[in-house]
Symmetry: D2
Subunit: 363 residues, 4 copies
Amino acid sequence: MSSWGEGVKISIFGESHGPAIGVVIDGLPAGQKIDMQGVYLQMSRRAPGKDRAATPRLEKDIPKVLSGMLDDTTTGAPLCAVIENTNTRSGDYKNIMSVPRPAHADYTAFLRYNGFSDIRGGGHFSGRLTAPLVFAGAVCRQILEKKGIKIAAHISSVGDIEDSRFDPCSIDDELIERLSSSTFGLIDQKTEEPMRALIEDCRQNGDSIGGTIECAVKGMPGGIGSPMFYGIENVISSIVFGIPAVKGIEFGAGFDAAKMRGSQNNDEFYYDGDRVKTKTNNHGGILGGISSGMPIIFRAAIKPTPSISMEQNSVDLSEKKQAVLDIHGRHDPCIVVRAVPVIEAAAAIAVINLISEARCHES
Amino acid sequence: MSSWGEGVKISIFGESHGPAIGVVIDGLPAGQKIDMQGVYLQMSRRAPGKDRAATPRLEKDIPKVLSGMLDDTTTGAPLCAVIENTNTRSGDYKNIMSVPRPAHADYTAFLRYNGFSDIRGGGHFSGRLTAPLVFAGAVCRQILEKKGIKIAAHISSVGDIEDSRFDPCSIDDELIERLSSSTFGLIDQKTEEPMRALIEDCRQNGDSIGGTIECAVKGMPGGIGSPMFYGIENVISSIVFGIPAVKGIEFGAGFDAAKMRGSQNNDEFYYDGDRVKTKTNNHGGILGGISSGMPIIFRAAIKPTPSISMEQNSVDLSEKKQAVLDIHGRHDPCIVVRAVPVIEAAAAIAVINLISEARCHES
Amino acid sequence: MSSWGEGVKISIFGESHGPAIGVVIDGLPAGQKIDMQGVYLQMSRRAPGKDRAATPRLEKDIPKVLSGMLDDTTTGAPLCAVIENTNTRSGDYKNIMSVPRPAHADYTAFLRYNGFSDIRGGGHFSGRLTAPLVFAGAVCRQILEKKGIKIAAHISSVGDIEDSRFDPCSIDDELIERLSSSTFGLIDQKTEEPMRALIEDCRQNGDSIGGTIECAVKGMPGGIGSPMFYGIENVISSIVFGIPAVKGIEFGAGFDAAKMRGSQNNDEFYYDGDRVKTKTNNHGGILGGISSGMPIIFRAAIKPTPSISMEQNSVDLSEKKQAVLDIHGRHDPCIVVRAVPVIEAAAAIAVINLISEARCHES
Amino acid sequence: MSSWGEGVKISIFGESHGPAIGVVIDGLPAGQKIDMQGVYLQMSRRAPGKDRAATPRLEKDIPKVLSGMLDDTTTGAPLCAVIENTNTRSGDYKNIMSVPRPAHADYTAFLRYNGFSDIRGGGHFSGRLTAPLVFAGAVCRQILEKKGIKIAAHISSVGDIEDSRFDPCSIDDELIERLSSSTFGLIDQKTEEPMRALIEDCRQNGDSIGGTIECAVKGMPGGIGSPMFYGIENVISSIVFGIPAVKGIEFGAGFDAAKMRGSQNNDEFYYDGDRVKTKTNNHGGILGGISSGMPIIFRAAIKPTPSISMEQNSVDLSEKKQAVLDIHGRHDPCIVVRAVPVIEAAAAIAVINLISEARCHES
């Protein structure tokens, strides 16, 4: 299902080459003034063609708000925003109708929908469907910022090239600000050149490359999240895996914690004035599913763009035989770059839901 | 919330030192004959004291079915099973009431429940609460087995010591059978000795160690799962993060995919007779959130047991000052071992939900 | 929330005087050919100005499908349809901004949304929001018809004037067909004249009148619905009360059953060939929340249109004093007439969910 | 499904003649001191044998709390309470195994569960399953009372004999108190004698009788509830229809409103000091699904007890032929009496959910 959430529900619709895509956000508080320029900024970070490492396909991606806002202020009614599909060239994808692209959802969509899904451009599975997610996240994010909760992500790696990581115990406001408006977000900007070189090399070879994105939520109050199945990890992962190409997620020390001893991994508590903090943050701000007040830190693994220009072996589903696939569309050699604001958006939507869930259980 | 699921809902209750723990499973099909010995076997794999690497605390953990079964056959009514708490020594935990244990949920539970949670033995956050999860999973698992869907997991690593991985394209039935009844499940049994030695070393030092668990679902039909937020990764991760100490999850090649080029990561399709398969399985049986018919493979990162016997720095929440914590309970130096059947159980519950969700959308 | 459903979720958005209204339907089976003319027919039954008893406001109400359909066939992706708002004259409602209209949601919306809701024309509370509901219902209805499930409703009363009731044990296919395309649906067409006279009298007097609608679902298979909270009554009522002005619902004999003895109310079972039927249908096709195979019958009570042209006492919320309200908009004197297809639509959406839920629990 | 709710979820389990019945309540605020005697009082109002008009079957119905409470104070963990089944005589129901009782769920459960449901005593469909609902309601009610929200219901009619109705605009605290502890709750106590006489007459004749229950929620703050599908009517009806034998519900003037003109039905607003009130309360405290601050008023129609001692025609499902049913169990001739506290309980659970949902949407 393309619907998600409890306190604030989002329902995403659209197909890559249909008339439009969009989102309904139900359950937002009324009276929230939204800076629409800030929303467009987030959307432009995701939009193709904004960064030179990305696909040259141009999208205007200017969302039209159909309901839920008056004078840029939420009315409390479901907020629906629609983005028209304009610059589409469906010819590029013609031969994939019966020959599924490796690592794409073509084949599984074929099974799931008995051959009826609109597979042009990936249909509902297209990365383009993350545009309404970014819209929803940008709105939620502004509401969170008024509560002092800030979210930022960066490209933590592309292939083997790694950026520095967030200082998990103390994240600089200036860094957050810089990352929040960047189209190639890095902590250590010296990493940019080798990363771009690697991406360019992949493009030249008709290949693509994967990477990871690290995301931080600063200012999360302690005591948010519920044990077991409504913990912060459950909620964040259940939305983050809705982003195409995400194949893994880890919180705090994550998979590294699996190699540690307890004496290394356990984060000591201490008093900083009258606030309880931890000296290290291997727990990523989450214990028992609940926030500790330390920054929430998670990393997502993004697989390489499935669409590559190299010849690939596949099958022809109509003729039931082997086939060779040769795709000549316009593809991002590294979707990690554009996925950064999408991860932030997903985090924002998750956090607003976690906070609204926490309110439910107040006396 | 300790409730999860749509087609089959589970609702877990209980606290470590309260009268009992248990689970309600709502929405099971009626008329399913359940082999209760098989259920007990699964529960005994998780129970402490079964394997010499685990805590010596003895639990009988014999669940009493209060409803939903007649002659070991599901009636369709909610199935409730209760496990009494008997062998508890709450004295062991006395000094943690105001001094939260590092890496435990003590502090966050304190925030979340305003100091009212029953923290004896971890309360509702105790690993003991995975017993009813294993019960629920064992029931679901038997229902899945009748459909030819089999689930098995193994200790894929403890600290730096790694077991072999599943052959992601073809998992042996005998291996599944062996793992499904093992209390120290490994693919390559030569790994057992060094792993046990490492765990023993941790125990001797009052320390603990983390690890990873790899789980496979064989026989999953293609076309199961829905795009975006009800994909297989979303559903599995949203329940798996309900297991205490899980800090990461990856599907297929997971974080390794983030280092690959598309040409390496893309799994080629081919016809094996009239069945479409992939030559490699970096996609872990999932594309666009939907099953491809290849085995579902995922790995979870388990942090080291937070309870260690070494002295640790913490804070005293009542006196608002620093404190030193010295715990003398009985603890597993490596909960990875006992978490294996829990991961399998969570996978079984996730899969039965995914399959029931798929049925909803049939015409 | 304006989202509803589990197997098939609908999410309705829009405000009366905003740019557009619409619906996202998530979870429909793929490959369903939809007769769009049939959908428009249902929408036109609800549209104002279609029947002379209704408001003269003209709406084109031609929905634009943004996603989820290709060649009038469902693709499986969320189906989004949008209806633009065109013929609106917001001047009519100007003085209600601070003076809430009696029996409208103006005042409660003011409380709920802290004064931020778009109250022009009722905003999200407007009866106009039932247009996307009818769209969704019309799509679901066609899918149900392929399974032999048919739905029809009629004006069972306006004020004290009553139409005949359905024969609860056997509903004629021709009657269903006639009602399904009628704009003033009655079983006994002799009732039409006095009803219209009563409505016209109300209009002349600047007043309005309430009524009831009876709805039948024919061909519902037995065994659908779940005990307690997912019974047919729960599911139907939870959506039907989403229709503005509905203040009551009863199933089968309903409130009349409350006056009966068991010996009168109990419906005897008998064999009609090898089918089990009941001689009477006081149970309205539902026992224990589950369908018996007899027709589902329910009636909804619709209050009189709150908007009347007579002077009414109210309060001025900005000046905090008494006020007199004198509304000069265009209003239906009897919304019961146009609510008939809306009730049918809600029933169709409820039934498709009940059927999809039933599938979840199959073995 | 026997699970219900969002902010506070309840999951009811058990079968009439199984080992036990009970409920899990997930999501309650922590730190709520519960007066357990008050809870037992509510349960005893529902228990059989308490009022002479009810069935002589004795149940101790003393719930055992398995989790979620410490020193009668909620811990925040799921609260599970179990009631053992003791005084059961399953012989009484032997012949119903293949001969479904008219107006009972025997036949529909047979269809729904393919013959596997535990039908002894009605199994999961038994009225006995309302005991855990009353438990859950009694806990929620005490939490609401601390917020000044009070709930009371009375027998508004038995057959044709009607009690007075609540003054919908102003409900006396003393009346609420009296009703809240009554086992034969009436506003006008002069109605008691004729009602008891009618019930006794039914008992003598081996027959039964239906009735209605009116329920009021006093002190409900304005602005609670969400438009469309999470309105107060939707939420209350979706749980109230979970109570066996309820066949109708109406809010405020309900079905009477359907006979009124707008000029009669519209409730005028006025200022009472600085509080906005309405002069009449035909809207039952709800406009557009949202509370107005006036008392919430609803009425439920309860069908006559299906179990009667008179001979009834039915079918034999195993032999596939007509059959005559002659039941000699112990039955309530009028379950309306014992359903009063059940309706109150359902209202309490609904209201606590509505209030927790409202908190979600605060900024």
